[in-house]
């Protein structure tokens, strides 16, 4: 995925400008920076969720050689290939099984046996199978926060996406659940391309291959530095990055 000169604004206010970066296949890319500097807006341009707000988006996002910001792009199909996990777990008020079955049905998988096999597989993938296999028809809202978030990850994975966008997936969880979800994210490396927004620098350092640092300059969010995660943390090129990752600013 190649992002070129991306600009996002709401009304006449620009929140993000001149963002260019490459997202590498199979790698985990972490986006760090203080709140309000446009990281989440950036993330939601990648699956065109910005279509459903009053955001205006300019620039280019090349995915498989195609600009996914073009009007002709089939956004429903796109979102099947690019899944998203939100900050707060948002399982539907349905049973655990229906949560996973509904997106499959909506994407045309009519065979119940096929659906059940896929559901079992993703639940095992996210380590929930052992915990919930005996109560698949119980409400998903009865699960703990960490389990709910893993269910949401399973719900995104069940559609077999290529890219997974994660918007602070651990920030609403307790430390133990957060640890479990983080391990899960690490296991996804290599199989999926992951873009993760996080405020937890230690977490970014632990999981990511690449990292981007966003900062507000003149009230507009900008990508200050992008590169290998190790370089960004150990040998930042920019003074702002150095100050932020060392904890001196932000």
């Amino acid at each position: 995925m190649r992002v070129r000169d991306l600009e996002v604004g709401y009304g006449d206010k620009t929140v993000l400008s001149q963002v260019s970066l490459d997202i590498y296949k199979g790698c985990i890319t972490a986006l760090i920076g203080p709140s309000g500097c446009g990281k989440t807006s950036f993330l939601s341009t990648l699956n065109r969720l910005t279509d459903h707000s009053d955001a205006r988006v300019a620039g280019q996002i090349l995915f498989d050689g195609q600009d996914l910001l073009r009007d002709s792009v089939d956004t429903l199909g796109l979102r099947r290939r690019i899944g998203m996990i939100f900050q707060r777990p948002n399982p539907f008020p349905l049973s655990i099984r229906r949560n996973l079955e509904l997106p499959l049905k909506e994407h045309g998988i009519r065979d119940r046996q096929v659906r059940y096999r896929k559901i079992e597989k993703v639940l095992k993938d996210v380590g929930l199978w052992e915990e919930v296999s005996d109560r698949l028809d119980a409400s998903a809202l009865a699960l703990s926060g960490g389990q709910q978030q893993r269910l949401c990850i399973a719900r995104a994975l069940v559609l077999e996406p290529e890219v997974l966008l994660m918007d602070e997936p651990c920030s609403a969880l307790d430390p133990i659940s957060s640890g479990i979800v983080e391990e899960l994210i690490l296991r996804l490396r290599g199989r999926y391309t992951v873009v993760i927004v996080t405020h937890n620098l230690a977490q970014a350092r632990r999981v990511a291959n690449y990292a981007g640092f966003f900062w507000m300059t003149e009230r507009v969010g900008k990508l200050i530095e992008f590169g290998l995660c190790r370089h960004l943390f150990e040998a930042p090129r920019h003074a702002l990055t150095a100050a932020y990752v060392s904890g001196a600013r932000g």
């Binding site: 699956n47 796109l78 899944g83 008020p93 994407h107 809202l141 559609l159």
Partner: protein, 277 residues
Amino acid sequence: MVDRLFGWLMSGCAALVVSLLLWVLGDVLIEGVAHFSWSFLFTEPEDSGRSGGIAPILVSTLWILSIALVTALPLGLGVAVWLSEFAAGRRRFSDIARVTLDILAGVPSIVYGLFGNAFFSIYLGLGFSLLSGGLTLALMILPVFVRTCESGLRAVNDEWRRGALALGMARSAAIWHILLPAARPAIGAGLVLGIGRATAETAALVFTSGYVDRMPESPLDSGRALAVHIYDLSMNVTGGDSAAYASALVLVVLIVLLNTLAQSLLEDWFKRRVFVS
């Protein structure tokens, strides 16, 4: 001391209102039961309703109600969904729609009756018929139903909307499978308000369905609704009071039954879909 006085005053208000309601209900119950018999439900009225039963009136009432609900329910849900899910880009138009609905909700029913008479009975040529009456009632209950359902839909957790979008689900699928079921309590409340208002309606029906008390053969026949029957018995028929009480008893029981039925149907339809948190 002041607080205690205030407490006494408030509980006095509550006691007054509750006892008034119990009095009305008890009066209807006692007087109604005295005249009621099972054959009352299944025979035709005789002697202008002083004796005999209310069979044709019950049938007419059920016709009118069914027509009103079958029309108002899908139409109202459609408008509510449009207002809460699709109107964001047309704020001006949707604001006008909301204000209009709120004004329509407060319009006296007799005005609906006059409109129904002019539009359905005369302009569309439906005459005095159960159909005219049912459609008029549908119009009458729509505003409140729409606004109740809309606020229910708006109260649904926005994260479910975004979650469904992010999964590449069509908006229609999200509405059908997640949002509407999650708004179930509000839809139920709107339905109860609608059923109550429609069943108790008199004024709007006199101009549209008429007050002939014979058995209707089709929805294009005219017919007398239960509330109209009660009005007629107590106002125009000397010696009709006890039959009026019995009819009122039937009306109260009918409303309770219909509400219970509507709630359980709704519950049943949605239960297979969602868990209410």
